[in-house]
């Protein structure tokens, strides 16, 4: 995986680079989870799996929809997405299988924004920078 956090005046940005769209979406999810819960996935007991399916009008909208759906899960089920499997991107939809574990959030994200969001592809490498409102 390849992502890094970049400071932004009121918030935080996650810059992701990946070799495919599905990897980009997977790594974006893992980066967001790291911000909220910390780097270590603690206590993988009582994990459950859940299918996630979102739609969007374009790739950027799809990424916002994807991360927003995962954020919602963390806030209403009090879980961390421990791993993201079988990510499929196509025809305005993203689907994946999520492994969820109960977890205590260390940081709060209010929302995933479209701020300066652009998914770019060059020579098979995809990059995106997502800004989270804190």
């Amino acid at each position: 995986m390849s992502y890094e956090f970049v400071g932004h005046t009121a918030d935080i940005q996650l810059r992701i680079t990946a070799n495919s769209l599905s990897a980009l979406f997977r790594d974006a999810a893992e980066g967001m989870m790291e911000y909220i819960f910390g780097a270590e996935v603690v206590g993988e007991t009582h994990s459950s799996t859940e299918r996630c399916e979102v739609s969007g009008t374009d790739l950027e909208d799809l990424l916002v929809a994807w991360l927003s759906a995962l954020l919602l899960l963390t806030q209403v089920q009090y879980v961390r997405v421990a791993s993201v499997m079988d990510v499929q991107i196509g025809a305005g939809q993203a689907t994946a299988q999520l492994a969820l574990v109960p977890a205590q959030a260390l940081e709060e994200i209010k929302a995933v924004t479209y701020h300066n969001l652009c998914i770019e592809e060059q020579n098979g490498r995809y990059t995106a920078t997502v800004t989270f409102d804190l």
Partner: protein, 477 residues
């Protein structure tokens, strides 16, 4: 990128980017700020964001207050008056934290009465008012109760014994925005907010015990029930996850219909729809419902604070923590000016109605509306009063606070915790914070100078200082 030469100084501390600057602009863009503040702004994107606001369909007025900084779509500190008849409404013009706002409670105590009990008061309030990341409250709202909270706001809390009619009287919109419709709020938003009523949250939200240390206008202060040496309590929080989700839902929805309404969008976070469209009306009603949730939230927190004070001080006088006022600083309001209806978007800006405004409590109508301006942690806060100039120049609007200048990451890296704690101790501030990290992120150095912000609005005569407040204790997540 905008340059200094692109702005015209309309008068001292009031600058304008003319409509001619960029063809899509429908009005000029105005910013209320000192020359020094403006120079600092030129290195960031907030002025570009303000210019983008001036392109929205139906906009007649776009401005930014001196606490301006970069936001999403609208800059923080942004005000836009858009014609209701044929203009748009934009969730980005309100913000993710719908009705993030401030409430001030006046107490019957002087600082001498409580100084020796501050540690206990702070500890008790930290215990009784949930704060911090992931902290739910004692209320678990089912579908029925949620509907009532969203529809009634403060009224819901009063009916259940968590306040008095006076609390509603001294709240903007009487704590219950009539346009609310809980049916326009998604199930996801309701779930996010279901256990968050009566909680402060984290980040820059807080409860602060303060002392009135200076009177700028003793007559207006008296009208507000404030006096020198008096202790007050300031609450800063909003609609929590419910509001965040409402904004998320509608930014996505409005992005999806932008071609339907053929709206030029220089920034996706400016997503909007015609106010009179089904999407526009649905957002307005959902936003009003989220605003009611925030007002109910601040009401429950008021109840918790009153109980905490009674528990510690064990005196009947602790029953008399009265609401001085409660303002929203992230909201869109349907207001009438010169016979025309506007959706006035205030994002990091406060309503500042002047004297004789029928929307403010009768007791205040002779002087104007209180404008509550929190400083950053450990610095002064202010209570101002709205003016007639605000009614004619800024659609009844003024500043809301200090505005960030350092990112959270930079604050944590560049500010030393021990030094900060020492500074707060020397300043005489009792601190109850959920985490050292959270404290660093909210250090005074991370924010602009609130004194300069207040000075700018005073020079522009859009609000007048009434009292200055010094923190005695701060409770945050």
């Amino acid at each position: 990128m905008i340059e200094f030469k692109d702005l015209k100084e309309v008068s001292d501390g009031i600058w304008e980017i003319p409509r001619s600057y960029w063809e899509p602009m429908r009005c000029a863009a105005r910013v209320y700020i000192s020359r020094t503040g403006l120079t600092a702004l030129l290195g960031e994107k907030s002025l570009e964001q303000l210019i983008n606001v001036a392109t929205l369909p139906g906009v007649e007025y776009a401005s930014a207050m001196p606490d301006i900084h970069q936001g999403y779509g609208f800059p923080i500190g942004g005000v836009a008056a858009i014609r209701a008849q044929d203009g748009v409404i934009s969730p980005g013009g309100v913000g993710y934290d719908i009705n993030c706002g401030v409430r001030v409670l006046g107490t019957p105590f002087s600082v001498e009465d409580v100084r020796s009990r501050l540690e206990e008061l702070a500890t008790q309030m930290q215990r009784d008012v949930p704060s911090g990341v992931g902290r739910g409250g004692e209320f678990m709202l089912g579908e029925g109760e949620m509907k009532h909270v969203l529809g009634q706001g403060v009224r819901w809390a009063i009916k259940r014994g968590y306040g008095t009619d006076d609390d509603a009287e001294y709240t903007e919109e009487y704590g219950s925005y009539q346009h609310a419709d809980s049916g326009c709020v998604s199930e996801a938003a309701k779930k996010r907010g279901s256990d968050q009523l009566g909680t402060i949250g984290s980040g820059n939200h807080f409860i602060e015990v303060q002392e009135v240390v200076h009177l700028y206008d003793s007559e207006i202060a008296e009208t507000f029930g404030l006096s020198l040496g008096q202790v007050v309590v300031m609450i800063h929080t909003g609609s929590r996850g419910l509001g965040h989700q409402v904004c998320t839902d509608y930014v996505r929805l409005m992005n999806s219909v932008r071609t339907k309404y053929d709206i030029f969008l220089p920034d996706r976070e400016l997503a909007c729809a015609p106010f009179k469209s089904p999407e526009g009306q649905s957002y307005f009603k959902a936003m009003a419902a989220a605003a009611n949730f925030a007002w109910a939230n601040r009401q429950i927190i008021t109840y918790q604070i009153r109980n905490a004070w009674k528990r510690v001080l064990k005196t009947r006088e602790a029953d008399n923590l009265r609401v001085v006022y409660d303002v929203a600083h992230n909201i869109a309001k349907l207001e009438t000016y010169a016979g025309k209806e506007y959706i006035v978007h205030r994002k990091g800006a406060t309503r500042a109605f002047g004297p004789h405004s029928p929307e403010i409590p009768e007791r205040y109508q002779g002087v104007g509306q209180p404008v509550l301006v929190p400083g950053s942690m450990g610095t002064f806060s202010y209570i101002l009063v709205g003016t007639e100039t605000a009614m004619t120049e800024t659609f009844g609007s003024s500043c809301h606070g200090a505005g960030r200048q350092l990112s959270r990451t930079k604050a944590k890296k560049s500010i030393d915790y021990t030094t900060l704690k020492q500074q707060l101790d020397e300043y005489g501030v009792v601190v109850r914070a959920g985490s050292a990290q959270g404290l660093l992120e909210e250090a005074p150095q991370a924010y602009k100078d609130v004194n300069g912000v207040v000075d700018s609005v005073e020079r522009a005569a859009i609000a007048k200082p009434v009292v200055k407040l010094k923190p005695l204790a701060v409770i945050k997540g």
